[in-house]
């Protein structure tokens, strides 16, 4: 990704977090972390951001369980999930690939996703690539379901899927192409997406971050980010 593409995604993340009181960001997620810190800047002190793996930007004092207990209490409004595969029904697979039902490749594991997907109201799905091998018709393994199942207590679920090419909203159990990032078009998204998605008229063009947002990203956001993601923070340039 170019620096401009990264800045655009950071701004998109911040837009998706508007109105949240407390956003948690998992491990290995520099763009979501940057977007959350930008949203906090824009919220003028009305938003809390907890970055896992950070000493300074994580408030937790009760061990590894506290994030999960905090989510269960309804104290976390938004969280991010990526995945080896994401399908058209919003299902996320973090575990591995299967062929004819048999596991053929295993990644790190399910982490907290089978739980957090139910307990956090605003789940933002995020991928750093846009590829039909990862955006698939049906995931090989459901780490976290996009919706339901019926009758099961659930506080929320996916609201959007953000990629380097576009933003999908997640509504009524499927994705809706809402906006195209500059330089990408509908035909390209169709070709690079393995699942069918809905359209509501012409998709918008994702606006670039306004000047004052850029200043905040390259100022306080980058400064805060340097503790957890030093290489990424340095790469944002000046």
């Amino acid at each position: 990704m170019t620096r401009e593409e990264v800045l655009l995604l950071i701004a998109e993340v911040a837009r998706l977090l508007e109105g949240c009181r407390h956003v948690a960001v998992g491990a290995l997620s520099p763009i979501p972390a940057a977007g959350a810190l930008l949203a906090r800047e824009l919220a003028d002190g009305a938003m809390r951001v907890s970055i896992l793996g950070s000493r300074r930007h994580s408030p937790f004092t009760d061990g590894g369980r506290e994030l999960f207990d905090c989510a269960a209490q309804g104290r976390i409004d938004a969280f991010f999930l990526s995945g080896v595969q994401i399908d058209g029904a919003g299902n996320v697979n973090l575990l591995g690939l299967r062929r004819e039902g048999r596991p053929i490749r295993r990644f790190a594991g399910n982490f907290g996703a089978p739980y957090l997907a139910f307990l956090v109201p605003r789940l933002i799905l995020f991928r750093t690539d846009h590829d039909p091998r990862s955006l698939v018709e049906r995931v090989d393994f459901v780490t976290a379901p996009g919706s339901g199942p019926p009758g099961v207590w659930r506080r929320g679920g996916p609201v959007a899927l953000l990629t380097p090419c576009c933003r999908f909203a997640f509504r009524d159990g499927r994705f809706l192409l809402e906006s195209l990032h500059p330089g990408h078009d509908l035909e390209e998204i169709r070709a690079r997406t393995g699942f069918a998605f809905a359209l509501a008229g012409e998709p918008a063009v994702t606006p670039p971050p306004p000047e004052d947002w850029r200043a905040r990203i390259l100022g306080p956001v980058r400064e805060a980010l340097a503790e957890v993601y030093p290489a990424f923070a340095a790469g944002l340039g000046g």
Binding site: G53, F111, V142
Partner: protein, 266 residues
């Protein structure tokens, strides 16, 4: 409570033991892991609290491990765990798949001496199908509210590295309170520490609040630098150059063997 040399502490972990280990960021007893590798231990069952990293990858690659129970196993920013990946492909290791809050909840059940803990979420995940020992019941306090029960997790041993112990065997862990949960839940708790202080860690509330009382601690071994190469929060950082080299080299069996030899000899 006794003070031991690291080798003596390691000798208290029998082959086949169910050993709870912290993740790479929370105090890993790497010096003790070195002892397990040197022995070498056999048939260990590892519990990630709630995930595993380098310690597990080294032990798996060296053939010390029969089974892992964890929410994930990776080298974090250095990528997937290469020796585990190989063992998994060869079918040489059993994996009890889990999710972070289920492991925390299982240990909390053991802390309380109750047989299970209810947990929200998870229903609708394929993970449920991989865990025949997990049950779904109707919430007895409500109508039509299915909820997951996970059994208590009672490790044989909790093994970790901490900054400080005092002469009575109280162990200061600061904010890393998953180590406290591990110590409560496990039958036995074995700890390596950076240093031993002459002060009483329980005498001052400011240290007592972050201290595991000796009541739960079977043995402590002094091991300065015992967190290398994953580091110890507040004391020294991870040796990222070594970890990056491990992640790269250990992708081949020969590369792993060389890195293992280097780690054990250090």
């Amino acid at each position: 409570m006794s003070f031991l040399a690291v080798e003596e502490l390691v000798a208290r972990i029998p082959d086949g033991a169910f050993v709870a280990l912290p993740p790479d960021y929370s105090g890993c007893a790497m010096a003790a892991v070195r002892g397990l590798l040197w022995r070498p231990a056999r048939g260990l069952r590892l519990l990630g609290v709630p995930q595993l990293g380098l310690q597990a990858d080294l032990l798996i690659g060296a053939g010390c491990v029969a089974e892992i129970e964890t929410a994930a196993l990776s080298l974090g920013e250095h990528g997937l765990a290469p020796a585990f990946g190989r063992a998994w492909e060869e079918g040489a290791i059993a994996v009890r798949e889990s999710t972070c809050p289920a492991i925390h909840a299982g240990l909390q059940a053991a802390e309380k001496g109750v047989p299970f803990m209810p947990l929200r979420g998870v229903l609708g995940s394929d993970l449920l199908g991989l865990r025949p020992d997990w049950k779904v019941i109707d919430n007895p306090f409500a109508e039509k509210d299915p909820i997951l029960l996970v059994p208590a997790i009672r490790p044989d041993v909790a093994l970790f590295h901490a900054p400080l112990a005092d002469r009575a065997g109280n162990v200061w862990i600061g904010v890393r309170r998953e180590l406290l949960t591990m110590a409560h839940a496990a039958r036995r708790c074995l700890v390596t520490v950076e240093a031993v202080t002459e002060e009483d860690l329980l005498a001052d509330d400011r240290t007592a609040a972050g201290t595991i009382p000796a009541l739960y601690v079977e043995a402590v071994a002094e091991a300065p630098g015992g967190g290398w190469p994953v580091g110890l929060q507040g004391a020294y950082p991870a040796d990222d150059a070594w970890l990056a080299r491990y992640a790269r080299e250990a992708r081949t069996e020969a590369g792993f063997t060389a890195m293992l030899a280097e780690f054990v000899a250090r």
